[in-house]
Assembly symmetry: D3
Homo-oligomer: 134 residues x 6
């Protein structure tokens, strides 16, 4: 059986601010530091989606993935403020939460068992990876 993993790279630019309503302004600052600055900052996010190639020849696999990721991830987050997205109504917009949010969006849209890993590069030095809960 084919076991080739295909990783496709996507990008979006977004603003965000680390902040939670569960804490006071002073506590937010103590916990998040400059990442809590009121007007937010931003990143060039890179998203790496790893799937199992579904057909013997890989025909159409990447094209279909591109459509799904562009429609549900890039269109939604690119050139937006993550803090205004419903997915982050309660969650803070950390890389840990973002990578799980992307997994939760994509996993039901792909053939069962084909999604293997989501990676998010937030900055040159920060990388987050999620392979689902097991």
């Amino acid at each position: 059986m084919s076991q080739v993993h295909v990783t496709r790279r996507y990008r979006f630019c977004a603003a965000h601010r680390l902040h939670t309503d569960l804490l006071s302004p002073q506590e937010n600052w103590a916990v998040f530091g400059k990442c809590n600055n009121p007007n937010g900052h931003g990143h060039n996010y890179v998203v790496l989606v790893t799937i199992i190639s579904g057909t013997p020849q890989g025909v159409g696999t990447i094209e279909r993935l591109d459509h799904i990721v562009n429609d549900t991830i890039i269109e939604r987050f690119d050139h937006h403020d993550l803090n205004g997205d419903p997915a982050f109504a309660v969650l803070t917009t950390t890389g840990e939460n973002l990578v799980k949010v992307i997994w939760e969006i994509l996993q039901p849209l792909l053939p069962a068992g084909s999604l293997r890993k989501i990676g998010v590069i937030e900055t040159r030095d920060n990388y987050f990876e999620y392979a689902g809960s097991t």
Copy 2:
């Protein structure tokens, strides 16, 4: 005479939104597209500062430059919203304007004639460079 150019690389993460009060909301959208989204987006900006090395042995050149750039550029823009900065009260926050703003800040603080070039990498595919007006 020493002609070695030293380029030092700095980074900051910031939010921004392309928008000008000179245009109506509809015109802003027509001109800037998704870069005009109300809540802004953001980038991992890279700033490349090129100077002429001032001393025969280069002693202290980079340390002094680091202090100046950190105090006046990184502290000011990192984890902030560029649209809220006084430098962009009138100017839109394009890469073209940002690279000139950084030149105008640094040029008077460095020894006369030593600043040669400012480069700004906004995204993987967009690079802006300014060498002063002549």
Copy 3:
């Protein structure tokens, strides 16, 4: 027991064209799009070979691997047209197939169990990985 994984990076430049004789010219175009252009196109391929270091001090591990990979992979594919290679007489030259072909070539030439993973970077955005069938 030593569990250090060593990944060594190699490169080759090759032409290829996505095409299968099982389909008509029209069907090939429908399936592969511009990748089916008659005269082919090409890539700078990067091959990442991951092995378990065989000796306590790692002495000679990389040198031996270099000889094997250069003799059997780089000499064979570098500056050639993948579509003309016997390995692709039946298979299309997708990244999915290329990464498996490289595994099949290298696996019998290395100490049993030492090959752990082959990665192929086809373009900046496409990565293929194979760890053997199990």
Copy 4:
């Protein structure tokens, strides 16, 4: 006067083969080595186009450039064999010639004096740059 240089990055994948009809097969091999292999090889080419920003706010500069480059460079060379292109009917498909061909195509299509530099990255270690004849 605005002196900001904007560099925009594009990519295409193409096959090519170094060969000239002015030489015999033996001479071609002596001069070009493995780059003369009959079926060609290929590269992921990166094209860097540097222009002077034409308007005070940079509005629309990059969008217009994208249209021109996509229509005349990317559409023409991406997923093609450079040796089959009319521009290389006589010229060999070296990086030196490619960078000049791209300049000659783009220069008449852009506002007078606005094109400043074309760069072509052929492989990780080879870069070609042309700023016009003067």
Copy 5:
């Protein structure tokens, strides 16, 4: 349960020389080649530390990791000669040994089970990875 892996990137510059007192000078040269040159050479090492995020919101995880890695790895190895470090009194300073030394230093300082992987990039083409002995 949260399964997000966070990878943080660190760097240090160090000298080293491949040499073991168990071998004669001639044998050292035969085994290590130019890496055995008496005065050593050096690298810009990159260290990738992968941990499981410990708290639901990831609060403080990276800050704590930075303190530990800076205090015990960067301070110790940056701008030093690895061959003079007690960890390499007996071991040669190969990438295989370095990645294990870093694991052994960090593992007891982090919450039980939270360290998942250490990666060391020695040169552009050499990568070493260790996930503990099991």
Copy 6:
């Protein structure tokens, strides 16, 4: 007349230590900080050599340059300690001096006027460039 600039990328790994005999140990430390650590440290140096392509078709240009650079730069500095090199008997091994030393070595070996620029990347954030004295 052909004006194409060709930049070729080379690499070497070397140890070095910033130190000058003109200063006392205390003064050396004050000036160079950790870069003055007695046993030195090291870098993966990248050297970028830019020349004017000498022939209409670029035939043989890169091959000849490779031979010259490998024989006089890579063989000399790779896997050595820069501080032990005669070129640095008096000069400290700063990037400023290294880029000029490389220029002085290569310039007389290349056709008159063909060498245009030497670049040295010392670390991810430090770049030195020299185009000769004029």
